[in-house]
């Protein structure tokens, strides 16, 4: 007890010196005088830390049920092959431009590496027979774009429904292929968007698709099926076209901001 009693003053003196030292260091770092700081030793509180201008919300991992689809521009002419191998049969050749002189794009539906570790991408082809797919080297394509939209065309009901993130956004009446000029059924995608052209027949906006007419194969631009406005809204809904999907001008104008290039199309 006597020893402890003798030691107490020394211990408290050391503590006081330590606290004083910390105050000096703190003031040196902050650039303020010791008197402006507060310490536990003097009964005052240390200054609160700065409240950050923002904090980050809870991070969320990606779920497996996202309604996204990928597309990619064609960077250089490339062979699309039947399998992810440079020795596989060529099924089509990809051009960098569309007949409308926009950048050619492909819908991306698969990924694989070959035996040498090279990356291959499976893509939908804008070629006959409709529904064709092929494998191209990743290096032939540019960066991926993504869309969360999908267009479903019902040829029986003559209706087209645009979905976003799996939920219906709008449904419109369509004009489809007349007897003898069938609109092809299957899985396709939006290739490009045309505006400010002068053609009342196609309305104010036209979208190119990867679908091709099986009848109009000698059509000057290749017989591609478009989705566009019309100068004959009185014919819709109906089977009135050479394979294209016609939509009333007001409907296509309303749909256009949501119908991005790369959007998958199901025609059934």
């Amino acid at each position: 007890m006597r020893r402890l009693a003798r030691r107490r003053p020394r211990a408290s003196g050391t503590l006081v010196m330590l606290v004083a030292g910390l105050v000096v260091v703190a003031s040196a770092v902050s650039g303020r005088s010791p008197s402006s700081e507060t310490t536990a030793a003097t009964g005052r509180r240390l200054r609160e830390p700065l409240t950050p201008a923002f904090t980050v919300g809870r991070p969320a991992r990606l779920s497996g049920t996202r309604f996204t689809a990928k597309w990619a521009p064609v960077r250089r002419p490339a062979a699309a092959r039947a399998a992810p191998s440079s020795g596989a049969r060529v099924v089509a050749t990809l051009a960098t431009r569309t007949p409308e002189d926009t950048r050619n794009v492909v819908a991306v539906i698969g990924h694989r590496q070959d035996g040498s570790g090279a990356a291959w991408v499976e893509v939908r082809l804008a070629a006959l027979p409709n529904g064709s797919t092929g494998w191209v080297r990743r290096t032939a394509l540019g960066g991926y774009g993504t869309v969360d939209t999908r267009l479903v065309v019902d040829l029986e009901r003559l209706r087209a429904t645009l979905y976003r993130d799996g939920r219906p956004l709008m449904t419109v009446a369509v004009g489809a292929g007349a007897p003898g000029w069938p609109t092809p059924r299957g899985e396709f995608y939006i290739r490009d968007k045309l505006t400010r052209y002068r053609s009342a027949t196609y309305g104010p906006i036209a979208f190119g698709t990867s679908a091709r007419s099986t009848r109009a194969t000698d059509w000057p631009a290749g017989g591609y099926v478009g989705i566009h406005g019309t100068d004959r809204p009185d014919l819709l809904p109906g089977r009135v076209s050479h394979g294209c999907l016609r939509i009333r001008n007001s409907d296509i104008v309303a749909m256009a901001p949501h119908l991005s290039v790369g959007t998958p199309i199901t025609i059934r």
């Binding site: 980050v56 007949p99 990743r138 490009d192 052209y197 059509w219 478009g226």
Partner: protein, 228 residues
Amino acid sequence: MSELILEDVDRDEALTEAIDGLCGSTRASFLRGAALGGAAMLTALSTPSEATAAITDVDILNFGLRFERLQATFYTQAHETGTIAKMAAAKKDWAETLGAHERAHVRIIKSVLGSKANARPFFNFGDATETDAAFTKTAVAMEDLTVALLTGVTPRVKNRKLTAALFGLLTVEARHAAWARHIIGSTPAPTAFDRSRTLDSVQGTIARTRFIVTKPRTSGTTAPGFTG
């Protein structure tokens, strides 16, 4: 092993242009050949220049948004291509966690900037998101790059509360970088001070990869030639 330099990953010089805007063209040119996360880059980014006088907090936030978007898109694409799904559990957890963090960073910075947020760039990661090996190398390089850049720009923010928030991002990015190094079997904290940090442990480079590119022109005014 070769060091990864800015020129390797910035084929279109989009990143160099961003640094040019913040640090001046002379420094940006110098940084082009500097090792990412290396001493030269850290020192150059940390030293004030005359060009920084007109830089606003909004500029710096947009600068940060650009890099966070780069990272977020990189991890998201690796997820969507199935590359992450094929990884072993621990590595998959790492990649998915970092992706979630980067997307959260994008959301908050974009929210803070509001209408002043710059448009989202178009990215092309080439093979880097398609294979495990390329993805891992790129991830390590990008995390170190982000740490270096945030280290450089955070002290220049005028709003102290914003500085405090950016430090919160910086420390998380530093953890990402350390985690990435751990994933590739390298020392997470190789030095006691970041100025002398190098990327010796990063194997290979992402040479010839274009990360930020011009968005392809997919619209036109040609009269349609569709079947009608």
